[in-house]
Symmetry: C2
Subunit: 244 residues, 2 copies
């Protein structure tokens, strides 16, 4: 399948690329997931590395996900989602809406980064096993302080939005990201997430409604959806979400 967009992301994980994939899928856009294509079809990890090494004109990307769309080379997950959302009717119209939606998206990116730090508190360069004790301490504070604070905050955004979605009456890329965040949290911290879910009914409702969108539902059933695993951002390590 060729397509309008080339997404460059690591081929074996959902990771940050999954936020982009969900926007592309809900939009019904045609795209190539370059990292997952075989070399014979111009894909593979080499293509991602070449892009980071400056193979193409345009802005140099620091890290995947990277979207290539015509002359545009764009990195940074939140920005790619905004860029696509605005092209496909999945973003609020206008200047102020652009900034407000991106604000929420970047706050989602912040908690995603904190999730990553629960299993890699010392450095992304070390194995999990080499920072396991530190991960236990980090995850405990994440579960008890940061996770409730973020989820209550997003629930508060929904209660003020003037509709059932994060930006009001219409679904946007921000809701797709909330869905992915909640799916990931439920995978990585099943016990803690279940407890908090009871206190955040609006978030629970967004998660259910996104999951049932026909294109999202079809995507989740397809092989294009990589299962969660312990190489991505959301990892299920029992010791990081123990029974109380």
């Amino acid at each position: 399948v060729s397509g309008e967009y080339d997404l460059h992301y690591w081929p074996t994980i959902q990771g940050r690329g999954e936020f982009v994939r969900l926007v592309l899928e809900e939009a019904g856009a045609t795209y190539r997931d370059v990292g997952r294509l075989p070399r014979s079809r111009g894909g593979g990890v080499e293509k991602i590395v070449a892009l980071m090494e400056g193979e193409r004109e345009g802005a140099l990307p620091f890290a995947p996900p990277i979207l290539v769309h015509g002359e545009m080379v764009l990195a940074q997950t939140a920005l790619i989602c905004a860029y696509l959302g605005e092209r496909h009717g999945l973003a609020p119209a206008g200047h102020d809406g652009h900034f407000t939606a991106l604000q929420h998206m970047l706050t989602i990116a912040d908690i995603v980064a904190e999730v990553h730090e629960t299993h890699h508190p010392i450095s992304a360069s070390l194995y999990y096993e080499d920072q396991l004790e530190e991960a236990r301490r980090a995850a405990e504070l994440f579960r008890s302080e940061r996770l409730p604070r973020f989820l209550e905050y997003f629930e508060g955004v929904l209660s003020r939005s003037g509709g059932k979605w994060m930006m009001g009456e219409a679904l946007t890329y921000v809701d797709l990201a909330i869905f992915q965040l909640l799916e990931g949290l439920a995978y990585a911290f099943p016990r803690s997430t279940r407890r908090l879910s009871a206190e955040t009914p609006r978030l629970r409702s967004v998660r259910q409604r996104v999951r049932r969108r026909p294109r999202v539902a079809a995507y989740l059933r397809s092989k294009r959806r990589i299962p969660f695993n312990e190489e991505g951002i959301f990892r299920r390590y029992a010791e990081l979400d123990p029974a109380r």
Copy 2:
């Protein structure tokens, strides 16, 4: 001084708010640094907290810095800088330029977050002294791997920009952020930064040229510029940048 903008940020540190202050100062904008004003003039930390608790209509902010401009309530450092830069001729014109400049700004925000993690690897909720050994390990990997990678990357962006600034021939908010990043790194990691500075002449030049801009220079001499200290993001702890 009243003003067009109300910046809400913690009153005793540069922190992430400093990236916003530099755009406001270079723009010659009139603004109130609300957290630093006395209560009698409508300022103080209480005002920041009230905003986070939803005192005003509009998008709920998660954390400072928060800009209030008319009806707009905007959080997320990178976005505030873009918003102001675009209003004051400190950003590229046009849709693609908006996205590319924000991409670079968000990558700067990423390294700033990693700097914070060098002294708070386990959690921002704990004191530095309670995660000192972990901080030593985290800082060593930051200095040896992440810091050179980021600086070489930004040097690469400059070498391809088509001008002496990050976005080409004109100064933008991205250059002001590069300046603040390099100032902060030189404060927090003086030894490591000095070594890397020799290998990144374009970055060194941006830092010098921004510092000499008349409005920036006047700001840096003023009392509005809070000195670096060990409560902010960039902290000088000798044990985190030891002699080799």
